[in-house]
Structures are given as C-alpha cells and as structure tokens.
Symmetry: C2
Subunit: 628 residues, 2 copies
C-alpha cells in the first residue's frame, strides 16, 4: 500500500518527484529569489522546513554539546585570507573546470566525463566493445583521482563537447570554490566566506584549552553557515552554495585516544563498509562497533565513540538504519595527514550520500596555524616526577664554519641545526669514520664539505618536567541540509484516501523532528467549539508546544490530510466542550482526553517522557476512525 | 557597595573596561582571528557568550514566533544584485568616506567632523567664541543630514586632516557598505552578502500569503547573519561587520492596522521619547502605551502592540527598564515612505544605543519588488457583496494625437494615461471651459497643447468583487549582538571578597539568559562526594540543564567566585552523600535539598515554574553563608 523510498523501487525519479513536489508545495523549501528567476544552488527554508531545521539543531546541541560538555563557539563567516592560506583552502579548495570556448559557459570537468561514461554504458551502445566498456568503468572508478592533464586528455580522446551548444571545450583548470570578497574600504584586505566552520575553532585553540583548565581531551563545537561557490550546482538540497554545518573538533593526546564512555556505544551493531571490503568488491556488513575498534578496523576508541554517537543521532532523527552505513575512506581519498576517516552515508534517491564525515585529522590543523601565525597551539602534560630523556644536541663550531664558508656561514650553521635525528646520527658516524662528509644546504642550493672540527653531535641526558605536544583532532562534521533532505525521503509515504481515488502524502516524522507538534480542529464551525480550541491553544503556547489551529469549515478528513502532509504527529479534534479526541498520524488511532489534560498529554508524548502506546493504555478503549 | 552601570557613574570608561576585561577573560567574546592580529569589527563568541546568544534566540522564538504564530523562514546570506537593486541597497546603502591623500587610509567623513567638533567643545578652547561654539553644536545636531558636498566644505573650512598622519584628505564620496562577491564561476553574476534578513521575507511574500490561507494580517520572521562592511568599526560589539539580526515583517491591511491583542499590552507604562519632546528639548517621559496610541503619538495599534512586546522581551532578558526608552524618529530621520518609526534604545557606557527598530514601512518594500520583478506582491479582499465604485477612465484619441504630434504621439498618449485623478479632473475642467490646455510631457521634456478632441476623460461606475492592494509592513528588527552587549553591562556588578582585599565580578543574569544554569562542586576532594557529583550531573544532563562540574581542590569560595563571574545562578555543593546545598548567586543564601530532588529544584527555578523565593519557603531554615 505504501510507496517507500526503498532501494528496490524501480522508479527513483518518480518517488523523488513526489517528495520534492510535496516539499515545495508546502514550503518546506523553495528556490531562493524565485520571483527573480532564482539562483542555482540557493534555497529558502519556509515555515515547516525552518522548524524542522531548528528541531534538528536543538537536538544536535542536546545530544552532542550538552551531553558531552562541549565548548560551543560562534565565529564570523567573513574570514581573512591569511587564515585560509594556512588551512590550505586558498591553494587547494578547487574543482577542475572547463569552459565552452565560444559562450564562456562553465562546467565541472569531472561531471562531463562522468556523464559521458555513464551515458555510453547505460545506452549499451552496440559500437562499444567489451574492452571499451571496461575502460569506461575504470575511468568512473578513478574519476576523483584524475589530474587536470589526465581529465583534459580523456575529454579530448572521447571528443566531449559543451552539452548545451556542442562547442569545443577549454582545457580543465582549477577554480577556487570560495566566495571571495574584500574586508574594509581599502580594497587591500582580501577575505572569503568560510568554506567550513572548523577553522574558527582551530584559531581559538589556545583560549579554549585555557578555558578547559589546560586539560585534554576536550571538544569544541560550532553550528553555522558555510559557503561553496559550486561551478554548476545539481541535486537540489544536496549540493548547494550556502549551507549549515555543525562541526565538532575533539582535541586529544595523540598517545592516548581511548574514550571513557566508549563502553556506552561498543555494543551497537550497524552497517559498516571498511576499506578492505570496498577494494575487494564485497558489500557493506553489519559489524559490532566494539569489535571494529578492537580489531583495528576503526583506528581508535575516540573515533569509534563518535561513530556510535553519530549513528544514535541519525537514527533518533528518523533516518532508516537499513539505509545508513559508515564507509571508510580509501587510502587515496584520505588526506596524507589523516589517521582514519569514516563517512556516515545515507541512501536516498540520488544514491549513497555523504552526510557526516568523521575524521582523525592528527595534528595537521593546529600545526598549520602554529606555523603560519607563530603562536604555538600546543598542550602540556606535567609529569608527576621529572623524567630523564635523551636529547639530540647539534653544536656547530661557528669559528671553523666562518673560516671555511665566510658569508655562507649562517646558512650552513642553520642547516646543520635543523637536521633530523636520523640525519644527524648518520653524519656523526660518517665524520667519525671518514673525517668529512658532503652535506646539502638547501638555502644555498649546493653541497658543502663538513669536517669533524666544524660540528659536534651528541646525545645528552636531560631531565624533563613536562611534555609539550600538538594535540590530535577528531572531527565529526555534519551537513545539516543533507541530513534533513535524506530525512524527508525516509519519512515520506503515501496512502490512498478513504474513497480510494487519490493518494495522500504523509511524513512520518518522529515528534522530536516534526515542524508542528499538533493541530487543533473544531469539528464543526460553532462558537463553543472555537472557544475550546482557543483555550487549548493558549495552554499549548504556555507549554511551548508548536501547534496550528484550523477553524475553516473544511471536512475533518481534508484537514487531517493537510496536516499529515506536514508531518504533524497529533491532531486534536474538538467535538464537545468537555473532552476532545487526539488522533495519531500514522496509525490514525484516536484517544479521548479531557480538555484540561490534552496539552500535557501532547507535551509528554512529543518530549518523550511517555510514548503513544503508554497513552493508549492510559486512555483505554481506543477507536480506529477511518477518517479519510 | 556595588558598582553599578548607572548613568551617574562618573567614569564610564573605567566601568566599561571592567566589564569588557571580564567578558574577554572569560571568553564571552574575543576578537576573531586573534592569533593573526585580528580583523576590526569581527568577534567570536566563546562558550559562555555562545550559550547566552542561544538562550536569547530561543526566548525570542518563544516570545515572538511561537506566541504569535509567526511564519519563520531561513534564507541565504548570498544575495544576487537584482534583489538589492530593487530594495535600494545597491544605490543607497552607503557611508561617506574620505581618504588620506598620501597613504590611502580611509575614514568615515562624519566621524572625523564629529570628533573635531566634540574635541573643540570639550576642551573649551579659549579661542572659541560663543558663536563658534553654537555653530559647532549645530553641526553636531545636523551631522546625519549633511550631503557629501556639505561635509566636504566643513572639513575644508575647519582644516581637518587625517588623524594619524596629518596628511590632507580627499573630498567625501559614498562607499557602499555591502560585502560584494561573485556568484558562480563566470564572474558575470555580482552578488552581495545580505545587509539585512528582511529582503528574504519580502521576495517570498506571495508564497507566505498563500501558506497563511490568503489571509491578512500575518507575520513572517527570520533569524540570521547580516553583513556591513564598516569603513572603520568602533565601539566593540556595537558596530561590527557581521552580526545576527532577528527580524519580523508583519503584513497588514493599510486600511485596518488595529491589533486583536493590543489590550494585553495597553496598560504598560515606560519611557517614551516622542518626536515633539525631542524637538522642544524636553526629556523622555513615562507614558502609558494605550494612551500613546489613542492620542496618536504612536501611529497605530499594531505598531503599538509590537512596541509593548519588545518592551516585555527586553525587560524579561534583564535589561534595566530605567535605562530603556522608545525614541520616535524625527521627520528628517525617517524614510519618505515610512508612516512611523520607533527605536528601542538602551543606555550603556557608550550612551543611548539603538537596539531594536520598529517601523511602519507602509507598502514600500512589496511595491519595490513588484516593480522590479513584475510579480504582483498583493493581497485580495473578497467582498461579501459586489461593490459599485467610480473609476477614472482616460481615453486618448490616437488619430487626433497622431495628426498633431506625429512621432511623439506614443509619448503624449502614455503621459495622458498615467495622469493622477486630480490632474485628469483638472484637465477635463479646463478642456470644457477653454477648449485646450498646455500639458507637460516628461518623456519629451516639453509642454504640448492638448485640445478637447484629443482625449476624453470620464468617471464610470463599475462593479467590483474584490479589493486588490499592497499590504503595509510593520517591521520590528532586533540587533541581537547589541542587545546582548547592553545586557552584559546592565547585569555586571562587583562586590568585595570576604577578606575585602579584592573586588569580585558578578553577572546577575536571570536564569533564562545564564549561559550555565548551575555548577556542581564536591566540597572536598573525596571519592564519595565525587560520585554524588557525577550522579547529579547525569540527572541534570537528562533534564537538559546545562551545568559545569568543578572537581578541583580549589577553595569553595574561589570556586563560587569563578562561576559568579560567568553569571551562573545556582551552585550545588556536595558536602554529604544524602543531601546537598544550593546557593543563589546574588543573595548568597543557601538551601539544603535531597540529592534526588536537587535537579528538579534547579530545573523548576531556571525554567520559571517556581521562583527562588518559593524554594526558600519550601526548604525552610535558610542560612546565609558568607562564603567569599
């Protein structure tokens, strides 16, 4: 009876169209600036969408910030260039673009190549040999790894042209995806709209560490807008130019990534898709989280703890656990500095969509800002007792170096001092055995000869009172709009109207997420019932329960159908002045409750102190009224 | 004993410094990107500031959106040029700027002139005659009305130079305050970061009106970031380049601005500063809101209703009602289209600061977008019975006009058709009496002679079934950062420590606003107490109460002082395993409560179901413990 968003449904496009039509018609979201023709990749959340978003964010705050005692911060979107230079975004936050050589229209190079390959394969072009098909599949598999040159070569080889005009295309070149602007009136201070909220946390590490009593581990969190000037936005709410991110940066001692609360999630079992399974072509598999960590499939306990917490967060919201999986990044997907990285992927009509990224980014971000700003973003561990450690000591003999290298003395001296332990110990051995050694000085761009009078290298024992180190960061990063869109698809179903002549739309949002918690309907238009309805609304307002009151004379069945389409879980129908009925959206079962009790019943059920089943038991003699 | 932020305090700067030092030290806010030297006008909210902001916004949603059933929307910050061209921001959202002619440093022209005049007047320069002093005072009074030319003249006349270098200054010229960017990869679609959230609501009027069942009045609301590329930001959190706005657009029939709930606020009495009092030099005065509306001081009931609701909102937050006034805009301050405009101004160490603007903007915004987009943003009132109306009909006789004006015929024809009713009736009378009339055609930039054969003007009776009109909009617009800063100043006081040798800082935030609702302290470090403390924290988490746990061995007095400085209203001290004490921040009075009850006591008091006094009565035998 119900049409589900199952992966088995043949016509995903038709399902998606039904969901999107309902969402746009009921103003969950609409294209922004529609009266001016809209702007690709920008959307407005209308009243129900805005309420769903507020509910998701409030729950995020409760589930992560409050329950884990995180330090929440709120930083500006406008960001000066230096910060994003340090983070690597100015140089590397790019997509490869090609231009229609006649009209100047821009396209993402990888999209064109992907569309070409898919099209050829799907059409089962009879001209395509088995080898050719294998080649196209290979191109699809390695698409994300292709360089600008390789992409350009393929585009030329396959004769790909501009889709709209059939004009030839330029070579691919990188386009930076940040919105650029200028800070202040001089025009001399370039800035960008932040591409993520994380950097605002990293640059504040020192203050936050102090705020936390100079103790590790701790987590900071931020919810806010982020911006990405997509070349050609597609896929509705999934790939947009402005979006809400909720990010956590959990700072931890790299030598101890255990988590005190890991046992609370270790028994969870859900779909995981480790790197090995992807490479060997096996499917994702239900794995127990505790086992995944103990077997080393997941790098460490803290990363595992957040994977578990993300699973709980998404499923509480109403994401279908059978269409949720945690996919590990392949070695070539992961940044060189990352220790491990898992994406929470949700399956919707567009396929498996990355909605949350959970990465162990090691010390990369804090080191990058330390280097660029000169402010050490480090943590200290005081030892209970001083520890004896062996330290490498490199002592250049400046007089000898001066005699040998004159003006170059300083450069040689510095180059000697920054040698790694390995290099230094090798030089020490060579100097002892051969008396001299060739040494490359980068800053001079040449080799020089060092003899044993010019430097002494030794290991000395020293007492240390503390350890100074750069913390590792484990970052769960949530794309709120993507999660909400997938939630819409997972919550949507249709059922026939009473007469059977039309399909009615329903969103089965849990009360936590529902944009409006209940509706108040006088059964018929009369003053007595309307006064009762107003009285109930006042109690609901005071209790902080969002509701919608509908006094129109429309049939009760139609009014139920209208609010089912908004996912309102409970409908209060006023059919007497002493008691009223409450109807549950999905079962259509009703209970009868006193006027004075109705608000507290709705509050208890929507806030989770009681379930609907508790209420069925309490207000017994339930009656199913087939109202549609 | 307590140092207050009274307007009487002589040294406002010292008071401000004490507040700001505490705020920055405890991370309520810090300059953004501090490790890179910061960016003027950009601030980060640290953990307590972020929590205060979240509390203020949650209360705003409850007080306005939920209680008034407003339609909340959420639109992007990135906005295409056409929208802001229609709204007037592209052409008119400017400040006048001057440049140091040698270094290029930019200054706000009015700031330099203001500083010059104030400086001369404050120093009581003996060279200044009484006339000169009067002139300088006059300049200060009319500063906001001066044109670029007038400002330039004054700057030259007074010999004002660049403050840092003493170099000569350029003439003043307008600088647009919007952050500009480019949407998409082509570089051909200019966009801006929105300077306000209101436009996102206006462009959606048609959909929102439909969502509301095609009924007026209704209000839409939006909370979000707005941007203003200030020339030279000053005054800390009060004048920043990025800020959170909360805006309401209440759409109403221009012929009926009554409000059904006005009686709920009409008895409120507070400081109002009507236009007439400002002009005549009288002070602001306590006026009853109902009287202000009935006497026409406030233009209409709906505007009055929102003034009352804003008053309640600000005072619930903890704004001192004696340092809050509603100031009406002077005629020259108000946009030509506005019907009336009042600012909620809060007094702080910087003087009286505009924190909320409440304006009746008439039909201006919807008309502007109707004109630019071609989409009619109008409302309909269906008549119960069709109405007979007199309609002006202007019928140019094209043949005659063609003979007389040849190629200019179309222009003349159009000019005739757009005559106002008054102009048309005057022409009709003149044509009837004189047979011909001189008529100015704007588009030809000349007068032409019209005779009675060229046009017929008449009034015809027609039946109308509905009224089509552009709604008026009443806009309360809240600068959230400014409100929060003023709240900090109004909440701050100091009191001596127990030993009397230092002053301790306290923020007397109401529980609604407090960033953390309570602290949990084991009195001494021992395992039993720590377990009780952890048990209490778990109950608090489940109840959704934010808390801070402090297990350090620091003295209880110091721990109290630390959290008083964060404005935490209640401190739970664990000094036994069965019962604990709860201490109230400002009175320092303690009550003793069972371990199992403590979370619900804190929850009831912070959520407003009970007061602290109720709890004093319930858990009698209160003891004041002078703990500092």
């Amino acid at each position: 009876m119900a049409i589900n968003g199952d992966s088995n449904v043949i016509n995903r496009d038709a399902f998606r169209q039904a969901v999107v039509n309902t969402l746009e018609r009921r103003l969950f979201y609409v294209p922004s600036f529609k009266i001016y023709g809209g702007v690709a990749g920008l959307y407005d959340y209308g009243p129900p969408g805005c309420a769903v978003k507020a509910n998701v964010l409030a729950f995020w705050r409760q589930h992560f910030v409050l329950e884990e005692n995180m330090l929440e911060v709120d930083c500006p979107c406008v960001t000066p260039e230096v910060v994003l230079k340090a983070s690597g975004h100015v140089d590397k936050f790019t997509d490869l673009m090609v231009k229609d050589e006649k009209t100047g229209t821009c396209y993402r190079a990888d999209h064109l190549l992907k569309d070409f390959c898919k099209d050829k394969l799907e059409k089962k072009d009879i001209n395509i040999t088995a080898e050719k098909a294998a080649e196209l599949k290979h191109v699809l598999a390695v698409l994300d790894d292709l360089s600008a040159e390789e992409l350009g070569e393929k585009i030329r080889e396959y004769g790909i042209v501009a889709p709209d005009t059939k004009n030839p295309l330029s070579d691919p070149y990188p386009f930076n995806l940040m919105f650029q602007t200028s800070i202040g009136p001089s025009g001399l201070s370039p800035g960008f709209m932040r591409p993520e909220t994380a950097q605002g946390i990293f640059v504040n590490f020192k203050d936050l560490y102090y705020y936390n009593g100079n103790k590790l581990p701790f987590a900071a969190a931020q919810i806010g807008q982020a911006f990405r000037n997509e070349i050609s936005p597609r896929q509705g709410l999934l790939r947009v130019r402005e979006f809400t991110l909720a990010e956590i940066e959990h700072f931890v001692d790299p030598e101890d990534k255990s988590h005190p609360k890991f046992s609370e999630v270790s028994n969870l079992e859900f779909l995981m898709f480790p790197r090995e399974k992807q490479v060997s072509g096996e499917p994702a598999k239900r794995i127990c989280l505790g086992e995944a960590v103990s077997k080393g499939i997941v790098n460490n306990e803290t990363l595992g703890y957040f994977i578990g917490r993300v699973y709980l967060f998404l499923t509480y919201l109403g994401i279908d656990k059978d269409r949720l999986r945690f996919r590990q990044h392949l070695a070539n997907e992961m940044a060189h500095y990352a220790a491990d990285c898992w994406d929470a992927e949700i399956e919707c009509s567009y396929g498996w969509i990355e909605c949350v990224g959970i990465a162990d980014r090691s010390a990369y971000d804090l080191r990058a800002h330390t280097d660029k700003s000169g402010v050490p973003l480090v943590a200290h561990e005081k030892f209970a007792e001083p520890r004896e450690v062996e330290k490498l000591v490199i002592a250049p003999v400046k007089k000898e170096l001066g005699l040998a290298f004159k003006g170059d003395q300083r450069m040689v001296c510095e180059a000697l001092e920054v040698m790694s332990e390995e290099e230094a110990m090798e030089m020490k051995a060579n100097l002892e055995s051969k008396g001299e050694v060739e040494f490359h000085v980068c800053t001079l761009a040449k080799d020089v000869t060092i003899n044993k009078n010019m430097v002494t290298i030794s290991k000395e024992k020293k007492k240390e009172y503390q350890r100074v180190f750069t913390p590792s960061v484990i970052e769960p990063s949530f794309g709120i709009g993507r999660i909400i869109y997938c939630l819409y698809e997972h919550s949507f179903y249709t059922r026939p109207s009473k007469t059977g002549d039309e399909q009615l739309n329903v969103f089965r949002f849990p009360p936590l997420v529902a944009p409006i918690k209940c509706t108040v309907f006088p059964l018929v238009q009369n003053q007595q019932y309307e006064e009762v309805a107003k009285h109930i609304s006042q109690i609901l307002t005071a209790a902080g329960i969002s509701y919608k009151i509908d006094m129109t004379g429309t049939s009760i069945g139609k009014r139920y159908a209208r609010t089912d389409e908004l996912g309102v879980p409970f409908a209060i129908t006023v059919d007497s002045t002493s008691s009223v009925t409450i109807r549950e959206r999905d079962s259509k079962v009703q209970i009868r409750v006193n006027v004075e009790e109705v608000a507290s019943v709705v509050k208890e059920v929507t806030e989770g102190q009681s379930t609907w089943n508790d209420m069925l038991l309490k207000y017994n003699a339930p009656t199913v009224v087939d109202d549609e």
